[in-house]
């Protein structure tokens, strides 16, 4: 009886302490939680609801349509096209960014006088926005005034119709993204390389390893975590591309650069199809989520093996 009473007293005490702890912690967390609720969680739920409804031009839901928009996404040419354009964009940009980043970070990591200046120049693009980069390239692509076709003509290559040809437009949109991404990749990989202990390289040198051998057997394996992180971040970013496309081509010519986010933007901003655009946005969300889950499972594996 007495034991039971103490137990009860303890649980009440415990409960009281929990409540007190809560009351002390919540005021610190509340500002963030409220903002996340208003601008992330509630909108996500509203997106899901919206994707099942028809809407009027100001975005109010009118009639329930079920999974009509999702079905439409996977059967309509326009949407399948935006999916395939996005995938092509990912394939055009991600490998190029990683390879360029590997080359520049390797060069920047070599101990040689004046290299801090090169490090700075290689990473300059991390401060540049997608919109301004797109405008710089828009001029470079200009058929008469721009430097690109002029430089190509110097080595005997005929002018390229960068932004107006269906075959070239996606490449033209990808190049500024590669340029911006390479600066970021260099920063990230260089940080990874600089975290490698000098002892490894000294040991390799004693064993007679050359530059290429120590790069392959020391540098590369030890920067795989950074490389993997870079792969995921760059891929996610490429799936969410919008700015460069919107500034340079607006999705054209003939939808050849119509990436998913551009398609979402057009659906709701110009055509007022809020339900359809929400369905498209949620499909993008699922793609991103799948990629993120893959990242975390692989990352966890790496942590476990260490």
């Amino acid at each position: 009886m007495e034991k039971e009473l103490t137990l009860q007293k303890n649980t009440t005490k415990q409960l009281w302490r929990d409540v007190k702890n809560w009351l002390q912690a919540i005021p610190f967390l509340a500002p963030s939680i409220i903002i996340f609720a208003i601008f992330v969680f509630i909108p996500l739920i509203r997106s899901i609801v919206l994707s099942l409804y028809g809407t009027n031009p100001i975005g109010q839901m009118t009639n329930f349509v079920g999974f009509k928009y999702y079905v439409r996404f996977f059967t309509s040419d326009t949407f399948l096209n935006s999916l395939s354009v996005t995938l092509k964009f990912v394939l055009l940009t991600v490998p190029a960014v990683i390879i360029a980043g590997l080359i520049l970070s390797t060069l920047a990591n070599i101990n040689i006088r004046g290299n801090s200046i090169f490090r700075l120049l290689f990473s300059l693009t991390i401060s540049i926005s997608g919109a301004t980069a797109a405008l710089l390239f828009m001029f470079l692509y200009h058929p008469i005034l721009g430097q690109f076709n002029y430089l190509l003509s110097l080595i005997g290559i005929p002018p390229i119709p960068w932004l107006i040809d269906v075959k070239w437009a996606l490449i033209a949109v990808a190049i500024p993204r590669i340029w911006l991404g390479t600066g970021f990749a260099t920063v990230l990989l260089l940080a990874g390389m600089q975290g490698i202990s000098e002892e490894y390289y000294e040991a390799a040198k004693i064993d007679g390893a050359g530059f290429w051998q120590s790069w392959r057997h020391i540098t590369f394996p030890l920067i795989t975590p950074s490389l993997f992180f870079l792969l995921v971040v760059t891929t996610l970013g490429a799936f969410q591309t919008f700015t460069e496309v919107n500034v340079l081509t607006g999705g054209g010519p003939v939808n050849s650069t119509d990436v998913i986010v551009q398609e979402i933007f057009r659906s709701f901003y110009f055509n007022g199809q809020y339900g359809l655009a929400s369905a498209e946005a949620l499909i993008l969300f699922v793609i991103i989520l799948a990629l993120t889950v893959i990242q975390f499972t692989v990352l966890e594996k790496r942590v476990n093996y260490e």
């Binding site: 963030s32 601008f39 996500l44 919109a131 797109a134 470079l140 005034l145 940080a191 979402i264």
Partner: protein, 279 residues
């Protein structure tokens, strides 16, 4: 023998410098040509071949760019938006990070996961309801509308929490015994100690916001409320035939971030390498 190794080394170094210079040229070229062209006169720019070197310094283009678009107003708008987001993110992130690092409470893991999940939800998938919501409450074309969605940050919270956890817990216990309140401990002790981490977050969030495109494009219609990234693309649409003026505008709006890049390079790089999950 020694002689030949040394000349090997010299040739090797020359080769290396050659590669470094090629890399630098490739990375600088678009910005370089943009700056060179922004100083050309209308006749010089239209004469073939396109210029690769600065042959003219026409500051008038910059004055023209200022006159043809309210560039300074765009820059002011962007500074208000980015500065507002930066300051408010520092506040919300410090508060949340403090709770995560120092306060024991039930459901901490759950709330932690809640924060983490906001980093996995792409901004585009919530943008339509957010856009409708901001319009409904009449915050389109306002600074509030530009700032409000971004004032909480999971990335910043984790960054600061990491830093707070590296500070010995004894400090907190000692302050508590001396009767120091949580808020006073955070403001007077923790925040001064966490200046490097706060600097990193400040630079990172300012730059991210300054370079935003989609959100300000959606919610600003009034020219006077446009931010730089939107304003500058509008300038291009209207001044198609005057590329030297457009590029002068581009260089002008890039200037603040380029300065930030050189002045706060270390903070910027720390922020990016700490996890640019939201890219």
């Amino acid at each position: 023998m020694i002689q030949s190794t040394r000349s090997f080394k010299i040739i090797g170094n020359l080769f290396l410098y050659l590669l470094l210079i090629i890399g630098a040229i490739v990375m600088i070229f678009p910005l370089y040509t943009g700056i060179v062209t922004s100083f050309l006169g209308p006749d010089t720019i239209s004469s073939y071949p396109p210029k690769l070197f600065p042959v003219e310094f026409r500051w008038q283009n910059y004055i023209d760019a200022m006159n043809q678009a309210p560039l300074l107003r765009f820059i002011l708008n962007s500074f208000i938006q980015s500065g507002g987001v930066m300051i408010l993110q520092l506040i919300t992130a410090s508060l949340a990070a403090f709770a995560f690092a120092y306060k024991p409470f039930k459901g901490k893991n759950l709330i932690f996961i809640l924060f983490l999940s906001t980093m996995m939800i792409p901004w585009e998938s919530t943008i339509i309801p957010n856009y409708l919501f901001i319009q409904k409450i009449g915050w389109d074309d306002t600074y509030m509308g530009l700032i409000a969605p971004f004032i909480a940050t999971a990335f910043g919270t984790f960054l600061l929490r990491q830093f707070f956890m590296s500070i010995p817990k004894d400090l907190y216990d000692a302050a508590k015994i001396d009767g120091c309140s949580d808020v006073r401990f955070l403001v007077n002790i923790l925040i001064p100690l966490a200046r490097p981490a706060l600097g990193t977050l400040a630079v990172y969030s300012f730059l991210q916001t300054y370079n935003q495109y989609l959100w300000p494009l959606l919610i600003t219609n009034n020219t006077n409320m446009r931010t730089v990234q939107i304003g500058i693309t509008m300038l291009q649409v209207f001044e198609r035939e005057q590329w030297q003026v457009v590029l002068a505008g581009v260089v002008t709006v890039m200037l603040p971030t380029l300065i930030l890049f050189f002045v706060a390079n270390r903070q910027l790089i720390r922020g990016l390498t700490a996890g640019a999950i939201k890219g």
